[in-house]
């Protein structure tokens, strides 16, 4: 048996390693929202002759137009997705394109996409998350006949959510990774996974508590953690294999989605023994003192 409960300071340290810089980054720089949330401009043009994508990219840079996506839709047709940039910048970009791509430029489409849909989704996902947390709190409290179990599971869940936001804030600032609607889904997935893992450990503790109510909870939880550690790792590895291969070999759009899920899986696995269980012990101690 490993005395997991002796090393709570280590877990706090480990979590802080990500959380302190992450939360700092979150406060200082926030997240990098994608066009899904900020809205943006979509433009489709027909030029007289084709222009290399690199050339278009540099034209965008020159005019401070933030091009997110360049698609060649026809022989010399292009579509661009850009962040909402000033009208004049887009116009200048258009003029430069005209110079590069022959005498005539035909704007097939030029739309400003409102950010309403993304904001709506965000608001609703937030409410849904709150509801999920309440439901988990109640169910775990009911299944384990003890509210502290529910509270601990939800605290671990909050920890995982914060880790996800924190790491994507860091990724956003240093690598330029954007938070899009896919991130919202990855986030929701993590919620499910985190609790799933916590319950497996709590189930062990419950089992031993039924047999023996006199042993200290910290001893019981040490036994439970030792016994479930193998399964937790094996299970997370299986999911990580899937996600790692997606992150490394999948297409570009899937990549950051897979990374988000990967971070969620890792923190979800980590938080069950090292956040949920210590919190459970602390709550138990606190209750005893009262």
């Amino acid at each position: 048996m490993i005395r997991f409960s002796k090393y709570i300071w280590l877990y706090i340290l480990l979590s802080s390693l990500v959380l302190v810089p992450g939360v700092y980054s979150l406060i200082r720089w926030g997240l990098r929202p994608s066009i899904d949330f900020t809205g943006g401009t979509f433009m489709e043009v027909r030029l007289e002759k084709p222009v290399a994508k690199d050339g278009i990219q540099s034209l965008g840079q020159k005019n401070a137009v933030d091009l997110i996506e360049i698609n060649q839709t026809g022989k010399s047709d292009y579509s661009f997705r850009m962040k909402t940039t000033s009208e004049s910048a887009v116009d200048a970009f258009e003029k430069d394109l005209k110079k590069e791509g022959g005498e005539k430029i035909d704007v097939l489409r030029k739309d400003a996409v409102g950010p309403v849909i993304g904001k709506e989704l965000l608001g609703k996902a937030f409410i849904a998350s709150l509801l999920v947390m309440c439901a988990i709190l109640l169910y775990v409290a009911y299944a384990f006949k003890n509210i502290t179990f529910g509270v601990s599971a939800v605290v671990a869940l909050l920890h995982d959510m914060l880790i996800m936001f924190a790491s994507f804030s860091l990724l956003g600032h240093f690598v330029g990774v954007e938070v899009d609607t896919l991130f919202v889904t990855a986030f929701l997935t993590t919620m499910s996974f985190s609790v799933h893992d916590t319950i497996v450990i709590f189930d062990r503790i419950r089992e031993y508590r039924k047999k023996d109510t006199r042993t200290l909870l910290s001893n019981t939880s040490d036994v439970a953690l030792t016994e479930t550690m193998g399964r937790s790792l094996v299970n997370s590895f299986t999911i990580m294999f899937m996600l790692l291969s997606l992150a490394l070999m999948g297409g570009t759009t899937v990549r950051w989605f897979a990374v988000a899920l990967l971070i969620g899986t890792i923190t979800g696995t980590y938080s069950s023994p090292f956040v949920a269980t210590p919190i459970l012990l602390l709550l138990d101690k606190w209750k005893r003192k009262k």
Binding site: A125, I199, G251
Partner: protein, 459 residues
């Protein structure tokens, strides 16, 4: 069921075979060399085309891929606002969007995205139809303006005593001469007598005249209101109405009355729309990206399967087999229901694979523990299943709760109703339910029927 694992085993094999047939690849050409010649057979998933009386069942079992995976049609409609006063243009656009949304839903496209876009002086509605390549058909359905029409039962039906209970259709009714053009406004109001929600409608000057005529003629009889040729409501006319305003009562709930008013307004504000752009959207991911991701997913799955065999030996192999059945069943259900597969949906799928494997890992770890305590393997196995059940149940139950909240079956306003989150929730829910079935029943049956016990006592 537990008494005869062999029977269950055969049933499971049949089920797997059934799923396998539904999962047959699409437009796949199989070439078999046979006595020097090559036999080419085109393979397609089966399709149902059954006609029982007037009931027609038509179904093809193909995988529905979302716009983000397979591309689809993107349509932009421009609303002609020249007849609409500047102040109510946004409302008109919103109404038009809602009508189009309803029509798109009627069209049976899953996860359509209908957005209203206002840029400078143009009012547009963009529609994304995943996987739809028949643009013309979609356009003919969407392009019409909302058609609100008042209809009365035909003479024959009117005389029948059952007229009051009759469900109005286009066949048993005829136009009463009043359409959406004659309606000025519909709004939600509350009855001064009962306080119940009702829908107040008012007609234009000309409409009021026709309405007076119609109501005079139809006192005591139902007047049906059709929106896009579908009966919306058919209230009974109580008295002749001459001032051009009326209320539609009925035991409406607040939301129903609100929706009806909105629908009537949508019909009452027929903004002519014209197609300004239509285009087949290449997948955002790109076909290349999709195939890469599928390959990556398969490699990941292969590693998981290998890992299970290395860790648990024969047991791992049975678990892999259960996983295989899981994959087949899930894909078959995606095709049968059908569920449109999007990137978030794939996330739900991956997560549920993890949970399916997890059930087995939990059981096997318990099994090993019982073996270590010196129990014979048959008993250890049954105990393993029994003991792991509590944690499997609780863990999966919370996931089911989560997926139900995200799926928002009640269509509540404050919860997500976007195709994105829903697609994820649907695959997660299905995945968890199927994984419970395969992880426990399938694995257990396989082990009961095939497993000969660990060699030399250790697993």
């Amino acid at each position: 069921m537990a008494k005869n694992p062999r029977k269950l085993f055969i049933l499971l094999l049949i089920l797997t075979l059934f799923a396998l047939i539904v999962d047959l690849p699409e437009k796949f050409v199989l070439s078999v060399p046979w006595q020097g010649k090559t036999i080419q057979q085109k393979i397609n998933p089966p399709s149902l085309d059954i006609q029982v009386g007037s009931l027609k069942i038509q179904k093809t079992f193909t995988t529905h891929l979302g716009l983000d995976l397979a591309g689809g049609t993107h349509i932009a409609l421009e609303a002609d606002m020249k007849d609409i006063p500047a102040g109510s243009r946004m409302d008109a656009l919103e109404s038009a969007k809602q009508v189009i949304e309803r029509r798109v839903n009627f069209f049976g496209v899953s996860e359509p995205v209908v957005q209203s876009v206002k840029s400078a002086d143009s009012y547009r509605v963009t529609i994304e139809l995943p996987g739809v390549t028949d643009v013309e058909q979609a356009l003919s359905l969407i392009g019409q303006t909302a058609k609100l029409e008042f209809r009365e039962f035909t003479e024959k039906e009117k005389e029948s005593t059952a007229a009051a209970f009759l469900f109005p259709t286009l066949e048993n009714t005829k136009p009463a001469g009043l359409t959406g053009k004659d309606l000025k406004k519909a709004s939600l109001s509350f009855s001064s007598q009962t306080g119940e929600p009702e829908v107040a409608i008012s007609f234009s000057e000309n409409g009021a005249k026709i309405f007076a005529d119609v109501t005079k003629r139809l006192v005591g009889k139902p007047l049906a209101i059709f929106l896009d040729d579908m009966p919306l409501t058919w209230p009974r006319v109580n008295t002749e109405i001459i001032d051009g305003s009326a209320v539609i009562t009925g035991s409406f709930k607040f939301d129903e009355a609100k929706r009806l008013a909105l629908q009537l307004n949508a019909g009452a504000l027929p903004v002519p729309v014209s197609v300004v752009e239509k285009r087949i959207v290449g997948a955002t991911l790109g076909a290349d990206s999709v195939s890469k991701s599928v390959r990556a997913g398969l490699i990941g799955l292969g590693i998981v399967a290998l890992f299970m065999v290395l860790k648990y030996g024969w047991l791992g192999l049975y678990a892999d087999f259960a996983l295989f059945v899981y994959g087949l069943l899930t894909l078959a259900l995606y095709r049968i229901i059908p569920i449109t597969l999007t990137l978030p949906g794939i996330a739900g799928f991956i997560l549920s694979i993890g949970m399916a494997v997890d059930s087995n890992i939990l059981i096997f770890e318990r099994f090993k523990e019982e073996l270590r305590k010196g129990k014979p393997w048959q008993i250890a196995m049954e105990l393993g299943f029994g003991k792991a059940w509590d944690s499997i149940r609780d863990a999966n139950f919370t996931t089911i709760i989560t997926s139900l909240i995200l799926f928002n079956p009640g269509n509540w306003d404050f919860l997500p109703s976007s195709g994105l989150v829903r697609g994820f929730a649907a695959t997660l829910f299905l995945g968890v339910v199927i994984s419970l079935f395969t992880g426990i029943i399938v694995t257990r049956t396989f082990i009961r029927v095939l497993y000969k016990g660990p060699k030399g006592g250790g697993a």
